[in-house]
């Protein structure tokens, strides 16, 4: 298409396609000065997005090294051109990109997921954790049916993911500037990494996959009764009730619950 007579919408579509694809031939009639200008826009586009990924995934970059991270970031920018107005969304899907590119180092995709989740929850809506005393007061008059129907509200922006590596150890290790030279062994059993915010600080815990399923089930709006049923399929009724109580106590102690859903 020639850009000379194109309506504005067509011109912008063509222009942005030029920016996104560094190998695209320039429109008919463009000279060397246009090519030089387009080179600046192409470079600005890529460097802004790669810088945004570097800012979000600081620890992942430290883990894989700057060169490998730069290649992964460039690949992601090309394969996932952004659609959102906020640069915070530039990292959407970057954990999957890392999992795809670092097939010999499967912990990289998991670390990238964790870092993205920690960034997302950092600016989630503010809320105050419900402590054990508050929970006791709110449920003091509960009968059996009330307990069965109990639904929990978790910290806004909380998320979870099944992982196969000890992300706590990796996370602490990459807090140092030099993160090289560490052997990574997979966990004996998969675990669930749960991310939430304590006050203004993003945090996470490594839980069993059973607790992870319990968390995602309750977070999705299931009742305490449904949780007990789900657990009883694996543990039997008595053990399930006790286990559900332990999970609830853990979530309250960690400050993951903000209230009861009405």
């Amino acid at each position: 298409m020639t850009m000379a007579a194109a309506p504005l919408a067509d011109l912008q579509t063509t222009f942005l396609a030029q920016v996104l694809d560094a190998d695209a031939p320039l429109p008919h009639g463009w000279g060397s000065s246009h090519a030089a200008g387009m080179a600046v826009y192409r470079n600005n586009y890529r460097s802004a997005l790669i810088d945004a990924l570097r800012a979000i995934y600081e620890r992942t970059e430290r883990w894989v090294g700057a060169d490998a991270f730069g290649r992964a970031a460039a690949h992601h920018v090309i394969s996932h051109p952004p659609t959102s107005w906020t640069l915070d969304d530039a990292g959407i899907g970057f954990d999957a990109t890392c999992a795809e590119l670092f097939t010999g180092d499967p912990e990289v995709g998991e670390l990238a997921w964790l870092e993205g989740a920690m960034m997302d929850v950092f600016t989630a809506a503010d809320s105050t954790a419900m402590d054990a005393a508050g929970f006791s007061a709110a449920t003091a008059a509960f009968g059996e049916e009330d307990w069965a129907g109990l639904q929990l509200a978790f910290q806004p922006g909380s998320s979870s993911c099944v992982v196969r590596h000890d992300l706590r150890a990796i996370w602490q290790h990459v807090a140092d500037e030099d993160a090289s030279g560490v052997a990574v062994t997979p966990l004996d059993h998969p675990a669930t990494c749960i991310v939430w915010r304590e006050g203004e600080r993003s945090t996470f815990t490594m839980a069993s996959t059973l607790e992870g399923r319990a968390f995602t089930t309750m977070q999705a709006g299931a009742s305490y009764g449904v949780l007990c049923e789900m657990l009883s399929d694996e543990l039997g009724v008595e053990q399930a009730i006790m286990q559900a109580g332990q999970f609830l106590g853990h979530w309250l102690a960690e400050g993951m619950i903000v209230g009861l859903r009405s």
Partner: protein, 283 residues
């Protein structure tokens, strides 16, 4: 749309590396400017810090993603979030750029150039009116730096800005460095630009550094990563002599951000030049 009163002062962009400075002590500035999009979030530390700084200083909300030149119209979710922030902060000004950043499919996160045509002018004016109606206040629109022009251009950038301000009632954020950068890249006279814009609509001035041309690249690039150069200071002095109303002057630094005292010293330079320009006019 309500008029925006002139504001006389000197300020800096509030950047993360300087949060502690602004929270812990009184920084000698008259206002700060923040990138709107960094605070168009649901909660967390950034908003708490902005609230605390706002208790001390006027705040300007400066956007980079409204895309007022987009033929595909404005993003309503974006406008809603900006409006929520505007209500929270009660800013001195709300501003964005004469550019486009996205199509209906993708976002460039860069300030892309518009063809200077009547069609583009109509699109820009419709989008500005939409944004101003949504926000319930007049906006400031900043002249961009650009790296190419379009064969179909029908007017000069200053003519475009003048007509845009006349049709929409918006005000101008004059980026003196951007004028200089575009003048160098496209071969026009920066003083002719200043003579052509409606100076009575200017409420704010940006000053910044740029990356000069080098071997193999004739284009100079607006990088905000270094001190303001002498030529831009001279253009600023000229602008201040032409302006008849007070304006808010700001140093913009977005990369290689130095310690705060260095930026405050540079801002003192702006104060000195502005005072000398006004004295010269009075004499």
């Amino acid at each position: 749309m309500n008029a925006i009163a002139p504001f006389n002062g000197f300020g800096l962009g509030l950047r993360r590396t300087h949060y502690a400075d602004f929270l812990d002590r009184d920084v000698p500035v008259d206002f700060v400017e923040v990138i709107s999009e960094n605070f168009m979030v649901d909660g967390g530390r950034p908003l708490r810090i902005l609230d605390e700084v706002r208790e001390k200083l006027p705040v300007i909300l400066h956007g980079v993603s409204m895309s007022i030149g987009s033929a595909h119209g404005l993003d309503t979710e974006y406008l809603d979030r900006l409006k929520r922030l505007e209500r929270r902060v009660d800013p001195l000004f709300v501003s964005d750029h004469l550019c486009w950043t996205r199509t209906s499919a993708h976002n460039s996160h860069d300030l892309l150039p518009l063809p200077l045509t009547e069609e583009a002018l109509e699109v820009v004016c419709a989008n500005i009116c939409n944004a101003q109606d949504h926000l319930g206040r007049a906006m400031l629109i900043e002249n961009p730096s650009s790296y190419l022009t379009f064969p179909q251009d029908e007017m000069r950038e200053w003519e475009f800005l003048a007509e845009m301000a006349r049709r929409t009632g918006c005000y101008l954020l004059l980026d003196v460095n951007n004028i200089y950068v575009s003048a160098q890249n496209h071969g026009f006279d920066a003083r002719e630009y200043l003579a052509g814009v409606p100076l009575d609509r200017v409420r704010q001035i940006h000053l910044a550094g740029h990356t000069p041309a080098e071997d193999g690249r004739e284009i100079i690039i607006d990088t905000h990563d270094r001190e303001v150069c002498d030529a831009v200071w001279e253009l600023y002095a000229h602008a201040m002599r032409l302006l008849s109303q007070p304006v808010a002057t700001m140093i913009e630094r977005d990369d290689k951000i130095p310690p705060l005292p260095e930026l405050l010293a540079e801002l003192d330079g702006a104060r000195r030049i502005a005072a000398e320009a006004k004295q010269g006019v009075a004499a």
